[in-house]
Amino acid sequence: MDLILFIIFATIAVACGISLVVQKHPIGSALSLIGVMGSLAVLYLLLGAEFIAAVQLIVYAGAIMVLFVFVIMLLNAGEETIKGRSWPSRLLGIPLLTVFLGLLAYLLQRMGPSMGTVTFGAFNVGAKEIGRSLFNHYLLPFEVTSVLVLIAILGAIVLARKEIDKCLN
């Protein structure tokens, strides 16, 4: 059962990923990304990460992607035009990417067989376990991350302020 679910949602994820890269209009890419995140959430559930799956859907797909969509709307971004040079990426990008994939495949294939399988329900981590670990072992990173979020908020406000001022005046 797990296997089938995995295959289905993995295919969906890859398809959405390809769609993201290929779409001409940014809003299409945004929707594809939401699709990817959704399938990934299911895969997290298969991996026994209940809390993470929920957070993925709520925060990532629900907040961040919504932010993206809003910005695309705000900027009224249209379809991508053809103009612009890009010599390194065209020239080097494709071969490099191929090599990259190749190396990854090689490495994975080397260590693949030794890794065994994953069964649903073998190791479930819920909010309790994450909370315990987060507030005991990883307390410092937790607090620091909260400061980081604060800084991000401040940064975003400062950057967007001029627009607000201009609007108000």
Binding site: S86, W87, S89, L92, L103, R110, M111
Partner: protein
């Protein structure tokens, strides 16, 4: 083993050092009165401390040594900061601090109108510090510290008027010529370390004394000769005397203190201290005597033709130092030291008096612009006259006793030395009185309004004059007798009378030429023709050095080092580095395309390399 009682000898050094530091750091903001008090006070305190130490030490049969701390400890060689007083250094200490105090007092008056008052006294105190280290040192390395230090202070003080080019040049000349001598001294020190394993004077001299004559010849002669090289530099003997006349560029008190009474006698002091070494190296002794004699004669001859009053006395100093060396060379060490003492008195007097004359004439130093000052500056006149009589060697003044001790010893060694010495004594009398007559007699040829010096200047002159009169009766030679093998020279009345006769002859000749027949000097000079020109040109020694040594060095330096090495290798190297860096930077700059996507490619490239390394190294387990 250090002796008790502990006399805190270091304080003798400390007072002048303290004075130098105070005046050197905050002197700029102090009043002249305060600077003078600190300067004079520090030297006076040194003098009093010396007196106190000597009064407590009494007879000083054995040296009183105080060891403070180990300065160098390298393998077997241990050198400590050790000070000592013995009979020889006690005399030097009294002379240095005593005459030093008088000159400091005089200098307060002389330098009153000069810029850098505080700097002068700081340097002067610093000089006293180093000179006292030199005298008190118990080992040769510490002595060398003092040796170099006085050379430094000499440089600083000669070049005191540093805004004048000739002063800077003179200072450099003094330092460089001294350096040649110092090189010899350092080699001697190294030889001592190699051969004796120690630089402590007691140990070295004891070892030298024990060495049999056959075995000792080579090493001890080498050490002795190298010490002589150093002494020639410091005490201005042939061929390293050329710096002393030019050193007159410094203020007159400097000439009096450093280049008459104290620093230049350092060479004599070292040779006398190392008498054990020299006594085992007869060749070196002969060399010393001959050098001394040659120097005495040559300098006396040059002195007869000088027109600058300070230069006359400078050459006189060189000549008198030659006498001291002669005394040392013929084995009369105590006579040589005796002459150091008396010379300190009358030469300091002569220089300070000359300074008084220069001060009276507002800076005039040329004898041809003087004359008839007898009535105008009487105290200066009388004290200078006493000094001149003393140096001429007329009984019963100081110079007579010491010079005759030397001449008698010379006669006992080799009669020809005596005769040359006696003729030189006559020349001495001649040139000194020539200066006196040209300066104080006749009519005044200058344009200034001479006035007598203030009391602060003429009081030291008076004291020194008294010492020049009575100094001959100081029991210096008796005090030093236990240190040196008994040198009983017969009290040969004939020889003494001959020397006095030569002295009077010299005085009379000067009187004849300059008083009885004024203006006849030029006639005599012309009739002597080439000889006179050679003398007046100082035998062209400076020019010879210039052509043989200075000029080739300069040229060689310019072509080889400056044009060759400096420009090609050093500058070329630097420029090449710059060019390479610039080219490299220009190349790397192309990577900064400003294009975000190319950055992404580079990041990906990095990731690929990383993965590649991982894959080739066995990958993940």
């Amino acid at each position: 083993m250090p002796n008790q009682p502990d006399l805190q000898l270091w304080l003798i050094l400390f007072f002048p050092l303290l004075g130098a530091l105070i005046n050197g750091t905050i002197g700029r903001r102090l009043s002249k009165g305060l600077i003078s008090t600190i300067a004079i006070g520090s030297v006076a305190l040194s003098f009093l401390w010396v007196a106190r130490a000597l009064s407590e030490l009494g007879q000083l049969e054995t040296p009183h040594i105080e060891r403070y701390f180990t300065w160098i400890s390298s393998g077997d060689l241990k050198i400590g900061f050790d000070l000592s007083i013995d009979r020889l250094s006690s005399i030097m200490l009294l002379v240095v601090t005593g005459v030093g105090t008088l000159i400091h007092v005089y200098a307060v008056g002389y330098m009153d109108h000069e810029e850098g008052f505080w700097r002068f006294f700081s340097y002067l105190n610093l000089f006293m510090f180093f000179m006292l280290i030199l005298v008190l040192a118990q080992n040769f390395l510490l002595l060398f510290v003092g040796w170099e230090g006085v050379g430094l202070c000499s440089y600083l003080l000669i070049g005191f008027y540093f805004l004048e080019k000739y002063a800077g040049d003179a200072a450099k000349k003094a330092f460089i010529v001294n350096r040649v001598g110092d090189f010899g001294f350092s080699l001697a020190v190294l030889l001592m370390v190699v051969h004796f394993g120690s630089l402590d004077m007691t140990q070295v001299f004891a070892a030298a004394k024990k060495m049999p004559l056959e075995e000792s010849g080579g090493v001890l002669t080498a050490i002795a000769l190298l010490l002589v090289v150093g002494a020639c530099g410091k005490s201005a003997q042939v061929p390293l005397y050329v710096w002393l006349p030019d050193a007159m560029a410094g203020p007159t008190p400097v000439s009096a203190l450093i280049h008459a009474a104290t620093m230049v006698t350092a060479g004599v002091y070292v040779v006398a201290r190392s008498s054990e070494v020299f006594l085992k190296a007869p060749v070196a002794m002969d060399v010393v005597a001959v050098i001394g004699l040659v120097t005495a004669v040559v300098a006396a001859l040059i002195g007869t033709a000088q027109n600058d009053i300070k230069k006359v006395f400078a050459y006189s100093t060189v000549s008198q130092l030659g006498f001291m060396f002669l005394g040392l060379g013929v084995g009369a060490f105590s006579a040589g030291i005796f002459h150091v003492v008396t010379h300190a008195f009358f030469k300091a007097l002569l220089f300070l008096g000359a300074g008084s004359v220069i001060h009276a004439l507002h800076g005039e130093q040329d004898l041809s612009n003087m004359g008839g000052l007898r009535s105008k500056i009487p105290i200066t006149y009388w004290t200078l006259m006493i000094g001149a009589v003393a140096i001429a060697g007329v009984w019963p003044f100081a110079g007579f006793h010491s010079k005759d001790a030397i001449l008698l010893a010379a006669h006992a060694h080799s009669p020809w030395m005596y005769w040359v010495g006696v003729v030189t004594a006559g020349l001495t009398a001649f040139y000194v009185f020539r200066a006196i007559f040209l300066c104080f007699f006749g009519t005044y040829r200058g344009k200034a309004h001479p006035h007598e010096s203030p009391a602060i200047m003429y009081m030291p002159l008076v004291i020194l004059a008294l010492l020049s009169v009575a100094g001959g009766y100081l029991p210096v030679m008796e005090w030093l007798a236990p240190l040196y093998p008994a040198h009983e020279q017969p009290h040969d009345m004939t020889l003494i009378l001959i020397s006095v006769a030569f002295a009077f002859a010299g005085i009379f000749m000067a009187y004849y030429v300059y008083i009885l027949n004024p203006g006849s000097a030029d006639g005599y000079a012309k009739s002597l023709g080439g000889v006179y020109r050679a003398i007046a040109g100082k035998f062209f020694v400076d020019e010879a050095y210039d052509a043989a040594i200075v000029h080739p060095l300069e040229q060689g330096s310019r072509t080889v080092l400056m044009n060759g090495f400096e420009e090609v290798i050093v500058e070329g190297g630097v420029n090449a580095t710059v060019a390479v860096t610039r080219w490299g930077g220009g190349f790397l700059r192309l990577l900064q395309a400003g294009n975000i996507r190319s950055y992404a490619v580079y990041i990906l490239l990095g990731a690929v390399i990383f993965l590649g390394v991982m894959a080739t190294n066995g990958g993940a387990r």
